[in-house]
């Protein structure tokens, strides 16, 4: 039978020990802030000012206009004009430019014709990010041009192979932090919550405290829940920190309900704490606990939709990703913070998180034996 006195004794002990563990305490507060700053400033998927050179062999009114429009996108920064493609290649190889724009002699005709490419982009493919930006660039300026040409009536309306116009919702300025910060909540909570609890029981085993504890009337469930409760509070504090820093420095909005966000986070924290406890009952040393946590953290970063768009991943990776709490939490945070979605609309994600928490905690309590052998 559960005893509130014993449960609270464990909670109080955990809080006392946590308060005296300066490093861990520092990590709780420092980690989220530093991570948001690092990710917010450094991970910049909205590439701007790529160094570019142009070889405008047509040198017509239309082509000069195209070059001007290209420069105005701010995606590229035209730093040189050269005579031909060979010189562009030299600049590319030297690393002086990332993109070379070749406008052939018959540029005007090619724009009208549309059967042949009007412009060649020579791209430094060694950086996939640049390549993907250039790929995005491909359609846009010409689309713009065609539209303008059409209104000017100079060109045939054969440009019906409608250019793809990209109009981003929810993050119109396409600022990376807006996407990163909600995802980062999941990453940071995964890291701290899982790690803290993964070492929680194995640390007591290493220090010898466990031999004392399991000889007391405390039950497995009391010990598990007592260890988890303080971290739920810590997780929610971390969430508040991340949201505040995101708001203050990167202007990341919370369009939905804060209560919804906190409810979602509570379910997610419980899921990670449960997994951490399960790890702690399975490993023999704190070092092993950390290794397992890192093993779990990597897919949580790579397969959760934080790094790469979830729908674009291979099917198998998607199946794996569906098993990770972070995948579901990122859907929740992006939904609530950016799209003003209500928690009830996103209930399947919440159901998964609660289920995950219940299963892992039960498994941990069952696995944790009050014996030494």
């Amino acid at each position: 039978m559960m005893s509130l006195t014993r449960l609270m004794a464990i909670v109080r002990k955990e809080v006392l020990q946590l308060r005296r563990d300066r490093l861990t305490f520092g990590m709780i507060v420092g980690l989220p802030i530093i991570q948001v700053l690092l990710f917010g400033y450094a991970i910049n998927t909205d590439v701007r000012n790529l160094k570019t050179a142009v070889a405008n062999q047509a040198n017509t009114h239309l082509s000069r206009q195209f070059v001007a429009e290209l420069g105005q996108t701010q995606v590229v920064d035209i730093i040189a004009t050269v005579a031909n493609a060979a010189q562009l290649k030299d600049l590319l190889r030297a690393g002086d430019i990332s993109i070379g724009v070749v406008i052939p002699h018959d540029f005007d005709r090619r724009v009208a014709d549309r059967s042949r490419a009007a412009v060649h982009l020579l791209v430094d493919g060694s950086d996939p990010m640049i390549l993907s930006v250039a790929t995005r660039l491909r359609g846009m300026p010409i689309a713009f041009d065609v539209a303008r040409s059409t209104t000017h009536g100079k060109m045939a309306a054969g440009a019906s192979a409608g250019p793809i116009e990209i109009r981003p919702y929810y993050n119109p300025e396409r600022r990376a932090p807006v996407n990163i910060v909600p995802g980062l909540m999941g990453i940071i909570l995964t890291m701290t919550m899982t790690l803290f609890t993964a070492v929680a029981i194995v640390r007591e085993r290493e220090r010898g405290n466990l031999e004392l504890l399991i000889n007391t009337p405390v039950s497995s469930a009391e010990l598990m829940i007592g260890k988890v409760v303080p971290y739920v509070v810590i997780g929610l504090v971390q969430l508040a920190l991340i949201a505040s820093v995101g708001r203050l420095l990167f202007d990341v909005p919370i369009r939905g309900s804060i209560v919804d966000l906190y409810l979602a986070a509570t379910a997610f924290i419980a899921a990670n704490l449960g997994l951490g406890l399960l790890i702690s009952t399975a490993v023999k040393t704190q070092f092993q606990a950390m290794q397992v946590t890192i093993f779990y953290l990597l897919p949580s970063i790579l397969l959760s939709g934080f790094m790469f768009p979830f729908d674009g991943m291979p099917r198998v990776a998607q199946y794996l990703g569906e098993l990770l709490p972070n995948t579901h939490f990122i859907r929740l945070t992006r939904g609530i913070m950016l799209r003003d979605a209500a928690l009830v609309e996103l209930y399947p994600e919440v159901v998964f998180l609660i289920g995950f928490a219940l299963i892992t905690m039960t498994a941990a309590a069952l696995r944790f034996s009050k014996r030494l052998d």
Partner: protein, 313 residues
């Protein structure tokens, strides 16, 4: 179960792979006594204690501990026993008071009396001045007193102490044992393991363990009277040479040097042990005073942990 014994073990065994850490141990610990487990490191003392409090599952055999069957559900047993681990197992990053408070809460000690019980223990174990000191920063003797205070806080009927004095100075050990006798007088049964002879001597009864096997048990007096060995003390000019000379005699079971004296164990099957020793030394042109002595517990220990070949010598 009869009300006479706090612990009754029947053929208790624990195997770790091929190693028989404890091998068919029979044990009867009377209530209200201090019962000692004497044995070298690795003799199975800790393993036995851990089996008795339900921390380890016996490979074979069973035990009755305070009416609770081992192996079995030991939950009902936990509140009735106190256990002091060999290694300091309290929380080093908590103060003495916080540790005691935690133990009081975890044993659901009635809350109105909690504070007074903690004060009482702090005073009894002379820990008042260190009340708010972190446990990790205490001296060996202080740590041991805190550990004992925590083990007895809930007033257990049975106290299991696993080498409680292995890391403390002689004065602390004396104080510690004074505390144990107080508890025993108040009715607590105490099972204490040790590898100190002087501590074993203080126990009401003791069992000597060697390689997982109980090789002797009884009161210290009985054990000393029934070693099956003559104890001959040899005072020689050159004890080192004398020892070398005596060691070659096959009928001498053991020779140990203690300062300038030699302690010689000879089986009681030898009729005149003094003559045997004397002749052996004379053969090597050595003069020595030899006399028969009563057995100490150390002699008992040496005698009972001999191999059968040594003993039959």
């Amino acid at each position: 179960m009869s009300g006479e014994f706090a612990i009754e073990a029947r053929g208790l065994s624990k195997h770790f792979g091929a190693v028989r850490a404890v091998d068919r141990l029979d044990l009867k610990v009377p209530k209200g006594q201090i019962y000692g487990f004497l044995g070298p490191n690795g003799s199975g003392k800790s393993t036995t204690i851990r089996m008795l409090c339900g921390l380890l599952l016996p490979t074979e055999g069973s035990a009755t501990v305070l009416d609770t069957e081992i192996p079995g559900d030991s939950r009902a047993l936990k509140p009735r026993i106190g256990y002091m681990t060999q290694k300091f197992s309290l929380f080093g990053d908590m103060t003495i008071f916080e540790n005691l408070r935690f133990i009081a809460e975890i044993y659901s000690f009635p809350s109105p009396d909690r504070a007074s019980r903690i004060d009482e223990l702090l005073q009894q174990y002379n820990l008042g001045p260190q009340r708010d000191q972190l446990a990790a920063t205490l001296s060996g003797g202080q740590k041991q007193r805190v550990a004992l205070a925590c083990a007895v806080l809930h007033r257990p009927e049975l106290l299991l102490l696993d080498e409680p004095t292995s890391a403390v100075d002689p004065q602390s050990r004396r104080d510690f044992w004074a505390g144990l006798f107080e508890l025993a007088n108040a009715g607590t049964t105490i099972l204490v393991s040790t590898h100190y002879m002087d501590e074993a001597e203080r126990c009401h009864r003791l069992a000597i363990l060697d390689h997982g096997v109980k090789v002797a048990d009884g009161t210290p007096d009985d054990l000393q009277k029934n070693t099956g060995m003559h104890i001959v003390e040899v005072l020689a000019d050159d004890p080192y040479r004398a020892q070398a000379a005596l060691s070659t005699i096959s009928r001498i079971a053991s020779v140990t040097q203690l300062g300038i004296r030699l302690r010689v164990l000879i089986s009681t099957t030898v009729d005149d042990p003094l003559r045997l020793v004397d002749r052996a030394l004379r053969a090597q042109d050595m003069q020595a005073r030899v006399q028969l002595m009563p057995a100490t517990l150390e002699d008992v220990f040496v005698a009972v942990t001999m191999t059968p070949q040594e003993r039959a010598a």
